[in-house]
Amino acid sequence: MVRLKNRWLLFEVIFEDNSHLHSSSSFSSSRKQEALSTRDVYSAIKDSVQINFGDYGVGCIAASISVKYFSPFTNIGVLRISRDHYHIVWGAMTFITQIKTRRCLIRVLHLGGTIKQCQLSAINYDRDQILLLKRHAELHDDNKFIDIDELFKQSKSQIMAMEQ
């Protein structure tokens, strides 16, 4: 028996309504907007596969696709798909222009063979975003910025909590 091999996609959702420069600084503003859940992202991707690749595409991916993680704060997520069909899912994600009622685009940040590498690059990405936030806060003399180390820890523990 050959074991089923997977691909792990780390992706980012960029929304039209918050300027992308502040895409992650929207800790407060995206709260007002309806936050997306893992389920919303999953169904958006599946619908897009249905539209672009038809029944055949959905059939191919249905067994193996699962969205393992999606953070409504940083708007990044991790998705698992069997190795033979990852290009279908990736292509479908490229064609997404809207999730629920919010216009957006999806960009793949990392494509890996194991979940570990995706987690590591997700942590790296989070760290960059937090540092960016800090620089923003400094530029605008915003003193109420929270402890960064605390944020680092939070993001790390959340991402590492993902399971195969």
Partner: protein, 306 residues
């Protein structure tokens, strides 16, 4: 290094809204990791207006990178001439001042005869076709082979595929036939995005390329190496002598390049090309018939552009 060689320039650049929209798009391109962008100005009919493209000031104040490094993007200008009538003379030569004020020249042929003409003779860098709608003719091996030989590139714009489903079908079908005919050579993929939300990241485009029938390496070349070749092609067309030699004054040399003229800093009379300067001219790989002309232009001190 990733390139996006087709970002439509606003038709009325004075309107603030269009200007911010352009800025949004460029900001997003930087975020995605593109390093070169070309603003596109499309013209149907006569070339009579001067180049309207103003490059945005560099992004010095962008706090986008966490390391605090400056984020820069190289900006080019490009003109796309839509050719509808083969008999009309569009003046597409580098002697035309309007044409040579743009960095890149593209043509969009609208029928087969003009397409053949564009592949075979026109002095351009890019041949673009409206792939979001049905093409009025088949793309044939003959002219395409000629264009590949001449180093002219074909363009696929992906934004129509993101806009709506009907043009997505057409684009995939047209792109696949183009890839089949060219065997994946001499293709570039560009955005043609009217809005920021129509842009995609470089690796997403590589994956899109695999859907259009290329393999990953070919698709990656379409947004990097091939685009660089287009820019180089444009450069050699514009300001070189027979695409072999170009001239630059010694004063434009950077301090670390001064060894090329066989001298160090203090002896060089910056900005002046007097008789003494003439003797410092360095001649690099010239064939005999070029030599004579060389003498005439030797007043300008020269350096080879690599």
């Amino acid at each position: 290094m990733f390139y996006d060689l087709n970002l439509p320039y606003p038709t009325q650049p004075n309107i603030a809204q269009q200007q911010t929209e352009l800025r949004k798009r460029v900001d997003l391109l930087i975020k995605f990791g593109y390093q070169v962008v070309a603003y596109n100005h499309t013209i149907t009919g006569k070339l009579d207006k001067a180049n309207p493209i103003n490059k945005l000031e560099t992004y010095n104040d962008s706090p986008d990178s966490p390391s605090g490094k400056q984020q820069k993007i190289e900006q080019l200008s490009r003109i796309t001439v839509v050719i509808e009538d083969a008999s009309q003379n569009y003046g597409l030569s580098s002697t035309n001042n309007i044409i040579s004020s743009y960095d890149i020249v593209a043509v969009q042929p609208t029928n087969e005869k003009i397409f053949q003409n564009a592949c075979g003779t026109l002095e351009v860098d890019i041949i673009t076709l409206e792939m979001g709608s049905r093409l009025p003719f088949y793309i044939k091996h003959g002219p395409v082979g000629l264009a590949i030989e001449r180093g002219v590139y074909f363009e696929i714009c992906y934004a129509p595929a993101i806009r709506d489903s009907a043009s997505r079908r057409q684009l995939i079908s047209n792109a696949q036939s183009l890839v089949r005919v060219t065997r994946g050579k001499n293709i570039i993929i560009t955005s043609e995005a009217q809005k920021a939300m129509e842009l995609r990241g470089p690796y997403d485009i590589v994956n899109l390329g695999t859907i259009m029938g290329m393999n990953q390496a070919m698709a990656k070349d379409c947004i990097s190496t091939n685009c660089r070749a287009v820019v180089m092609h444009a450069k050699t067309r514009r300001n070189t002598h027979r695409a072999v030699v170009s001239f630059e004054p010694i004063s434009s040399l950077k301090p670390n390049e001064l060894w090329k003229v066989g001298d160090d800093k203090k002896n060089i009379n910056v900005g002046k090309t007097d008789f003494k300067g003439k003797s410092k001219v360095k001649r690099i790989r010239l064939s005999k018939d070029d030599e004579e002309e060389e003498e005439n232009e030797a007043e300008i001190s020269q350096d080879m552009e690599i």
